[in-house]
Amino acid sequence: MEKIVVNHLNFYYGDHIALADTSMSIAEHRVTALIGPSGCGKSTFLRCLNRMNDTIRNTRAEGEILLDGVNIYAPGSDVVTLRQRVGMVFQRPNPFPQSIFNNVSFGPRMLGLAKGSALDDMVEQSLRGAALWDKVKDKLHQDALHLSLGQQQRLCIARAIAVKPEVILMDEPCSALDPIATGHVEELIESLQEHYTIVIVTHSMHQAARVSNFTGFFWLGKLVEFDATEKIFSRPGQKQTEDYITGRAG
């Protein structure tokens, strides 16, 4: 079952073309990894999926991205609801400089999803979902910036799932984390796919191999190969892909 279908997407920063003729189908309740050398357009592609690129001046997208069959770039489509459905976790953990509780409840409060004890429940659920509840349940009203980086990143995941998205985009979510915290986040990704469709950008081949069901390899703004992760890592169809994953190019 396809959650997102990208058809012939071109993306421009001013005159610079960062993505050319990219097409991809992203399966529902699966983890899709995007790999490729620096500057090849992985983040750009990811940010097209919830139109976060709109916040950058002087950018332009061509082609279509269908979310459940509806083009998110169609004129008049609402980015605010789109972003509620397609949440995002960033490379560097970016909790708000507020309490843990406020961080997680931010989205639900903003969207008017819950109040009072229902809100408390929602916060608890989200923190449990991000495997953080036991660590923070006694200090919900402490400043989120006092958490370790790994915990901050899981808090950001909790914050993202608190608004009940359908898709979660993650842009190198572990690059600021140590191996142990990375392990926690990877386990979390495993468990999240039951409820969410996940797209993750990563620089780590091992991470892509460990967590994803599908992998797309980008090279110079093009999607070179897209297939089941197992196949990409055992029998890549393209020479470029093979060179990259075996470390001969990068």
Binding site: T81, R83, G87, N94, F106, G107, V163
Partner: protein, 303 residues
């Protein structure tokens, strides 16, 4: 620099030494001047506090010709007008800063910023003139009060004068809010306004409180404008209706009366005494502003 002095040719090192010495002297002399002014203020002002009874000093009537030196109406006058001015300027200043930083397209920002800087450079007497001939009559006619020279009028003009400082400081505060906070909120489906209201402004609050303090400092020390638009009646500003009655501030009192007093008289010392009070108030306001800056630094500019 001191280490390689010996290896440098002699003429260069003595030149450097001379420059350093000059800079040092200039630097210390600035501090020296400030200290001298403060000492002078103390020397001339302190006699007021022991030559006059406390009951008189903290009285409510300032009539130097009858030896009544009640400073309360002047202190409260300054405080009232400053507080009202800041209450008026704060929402406008923050709104303008938000507009410039978060909403306005680039070219509007390019025009607005220099205009606001120009606003800061308008001489206070010009603003006072504007207050006297435009705002005061407006206040008198629309509110039907006896005179347009009131706390309210003074506060409006002071708010206007404090605005440029407040806007640019608030703007800097917004500027230091990391982009990734905004991204986090937007990526959750918050609207632009929700992001500003619930993420950007709270994250910038220490910078904004600094803007308030600096605006206050600007307002409380202002002399010419308040002299021109507040009516200069030394009354106690009590009750809400005082807002639309004349007042007199500490600064206006000093400026208006200093020219006419006999050197060494009680009245003369009283004016310096008021100067000390003003100095102390300003000092505390600046201290609060410095604290805000310090806190911001300590927290890595994050809030």
């Amino acid at each position: 620099m001191l280490n390689n002095k010996s290896s440098a040719p002699k003429s260069i090192s003595s030149f450097e030494f001379a420059i350093e010495a000059i800079i040092r002297v200039l630097g210390f002399s600035t501090i020296g001047f400030v200290l001298l002014i403060f000492l002078f203020l103390l020397k001339e002002g302190v006699p007021f506090f022991y030559k006059t009874d406390l009951i008189n000093i903290f009285g409510t009537r300032w009539y130097p010709t009858f030896d009544l030196f009640g400073t309360l109406p002047l202190i409260l006058g300054s405080v009232a007008i400053t507080v009202v001015a800041v209450i008026m300027a704060l929402p406008m200043g923050v709104a303008t800063a938000v507009f410039i930083r978060e909403i306005a397209p680039g070219w509007v920002r390019e025009i607005l910023k220099p205009m606001i800087e120009t606003l800061a450079g308008i001489p206070s007497v010009v603003i006072g003139f504007f207050g006297m001939t435009v705002i005061a009559p407006m206040v008198r006619e629309t509110l039907g009060v006896a005179t347009g020279l009131t706390i309210f009028t003074g506060a409006v003009t002071l708010a206007y004068m404090a605005l440029p400082t407040m806007i640019s400081v608030a703007e800097d505060a917004l500027d230091t809010v990391p982009k990734n906070y905004r991204d986090a909120a937007l990526a959750m489906g918050a609207t632009k306004w929700q992001t500003i209201r619930h993420v950007v402004l709270p994250a910038a609050r220490s910078g904004i409180s600094m803007a308030v303090m600096l605006g206050m400092g600007r307002a409380i020390g202002e002399t010419m404008t308040v002299m021109m638009v507040t009516g200069n009646a030394a009354r106690m500003p009590l009750g809400l209706d005082a807002l639309f009655k004349p007042i007199r501030t500490m600064t206006a009192t000093i400026a208006a009366e200093m020219g006419e007093v006999a050197g060494g008289s009680i009245h003369y010392h009283a004016l310096f005494g008021i100067g000390i009070v003003l100095f102390v108030l300003t000092f505390f306001i600046n201290l609060a502003a410095a604290r805000a800056i310090f806190q911001k630094r300590r927290k890595g500019g994050l809030r």
